[in-house]
């Protein structure tokens, strides 16, 4: 206790003031370069490299298209009406406040709204999206690609396989009707975001096609088309991203992707999630990366999956597990995705 007493004589305030932090030493940047505000009927495009992971602010715009094709530290969007906004991968949070009748395409770690109405959001969100005092919100799965987008996800430390776009938490639920619903799957992004693929952006090779999207488009909470589902796990290898994509792409006419997640698992976790399958051949691999779990749905799904997996190169096949048995599918799917949810909220 004596040592505490002896320190009392120092002046703590003075000492703290003298200390230099990284923000005291950095170069001064003009915040106006990273702000879009007070625009009416305009079209703003920010190309890759023009924001480069800085914070961004959008405020007080009306009937304006703001397309930010770069990665961002965090962003607030305030007091906008009738706007179309595309936001590149956000490492932290996007916080939308006091906005009305706006459309968004965004990938982020955290998605938050307050005091908004009538938003359409195509979303990829690494954690559970939250809304407060907001009504008439519609959500759909993120669906976008352009040159360098995958690298921007990596720079933002966002996984391409952790998307909770339809799992919304509402802090202010109302009894009559849900404040959030789903965007119709027939919606055309090219129509909703005018000019997204026109000549001014052609050199970025922007695509809004489902099949091209860097984040795989998932069914989420929409009704499943069939009673048959299948669970596939891709174990870590240098090509696991591509293997997972290939499986979903090869199956696209026969099965829909319900959900997909990646997560680090221990041998113990693996045994709990797959109690009836011997996965010991994968024990060595799981320490080197994350396991990608895929839930697919479609008639005769398990057989269709097995057939597709058998067409892949042998070294890829060795990193894949798919439920052979219908009885195992629901348990494995439930345990895998429950485990992901628990880890996410830890």
């Amino acid at each position: 206790m004596g040592c505490f007493g002896s320190k009392e004589k120092e002046d703590p305030e003075k000492k703290t003031e003298e200390k230099k932090y990284s923000w005291d030493k950095r170069e001064k940047i003009d915040p106006a370069l990273y702000t879009v505000e007070n625009l009416n009927d305009e079209f703003v495009i920010r190309e890759p490299g023009s924001i480069d992971g800085q914070q961004f602010i959008i405020q007080n715009c009306k009937n304006t298209r703001i397309y930010l094709f770069d990665h961002i530290a965090s962003i607030t969007v305030d007091d906008c009406v009738d706007c179309c906004i595309i936001v590149g991968p956000v490492m932290g949070s996007i916080f939308i406040r006091d906005c009305e009748n706006c459309k968004f395409i965004v990938a982020c770690q955290q998605f938050r709204t307050r005091d908004c109405s009538k938003l359409d959001v195509f979303l990829s969100c690494a954690t559970q999206p939250i809304i407060e005092a907001s009504a008439k919100l519609k959500f759909g799965c993120y669906q976008l690609n352009y040159d360098g987008l995958k690298e921007q996800f990596e720079k933002s430390q966002l996984s391409l396989f952790c998307n909770n776009w339809c799992n919304i938490h509402d802090f202010t639920p109302v009894t009559e009707k849900s404040n959030s619903s789903l965007i119709s799957e027939e919606c055309s992004l090219n129509e909703m975001f005018p000019g997204i693929t026109d000549s001014s952006t052609s050199k970025l090779n922007i695509s809004t096609n489902r099949g091209d999207s860097v984040v795989l488009v998932s069914l989420g909470s929409r009704p499943k088309p069939s009673l048959d589902s299948c669970f596939v796990a891709v174990f870590p290898s240098n090509s696991s991203y591509q293997v997972a994509r290939n499986i979903v792409t090869l199956l696209k006419d026969k099965c829909v992707l319900v959900q997909i997640r990646e997560i680090n698992l221990t041998v113990g976790d693996l045994k709990r999630i797959f109690p009836n399958s011997d996965l010991s051949v994968h024990h060595a691999a799981i320490s080197s990366g994350s396991v990608i779990g895929i839930e697919l749905n479609g008639d005769n799904c398990c057989n269709v999956c097995t057939d597709v997996v058998s067409t892949l190169p042998p070294e890829e096949q060795r990193s894949i597990y798919s439920s052979l048995n219908k009885d195992e599918v629901s348990g494995e799917t439930e345990r895998f995705f429950d485990f992901c949810d628990i880890q996410m909220n830890n």
Partner: protein
Amino acid sequence: MGLLKLLRKLKSESNKELRILLLGLDNAGKTTILKKLASEDINHITPTQGFNIKSVQSQGFKLNVWDIGGQRRIRPYWRNYFENTDVLIYVVDSTDKKRLEETGVELEELVTDEKLSGVPLLVFANKQDLLQAAPASDIADGLSLHTLSGRTYQIQACSALKGEGIQDGLEWVMKTVSKKKK
């Protein structure tokens, strides 16, 4: 004699437990600070729906840190956690100019609550790593900290993401508390 002294010392150390309340608006970075204090991964943090609690050891003290969700709808529940608080840590998003007034109003409510009277206050002016961050002195003005009377307080610039300033804030907490407990 030596053994008795040692036992007494051990006993008094085991009693050195502090209840710390971490409050602030939603999106201020409370959970990131909590996880940073506990040396946990801060890459994926879900917006807090209820509360988080962690116990952290610091300078022989056991700190029980309560991090309570900050959405407007759930702020009325903050007061359920006031009882027996040793230190209040109030977190401000230094980049959120739109809500500086709102966060000031909430802090005013806290410091005028009887249950928190005399409780030392540490304000973290968080997110200093971001380019739109206001300096801690502006945050102090915005919150009218100079009008606080009868309370020990400190404002500390920090970036929970970069891990800067957090330890400095915590050191102030430890100093203040050990002074008080003497």
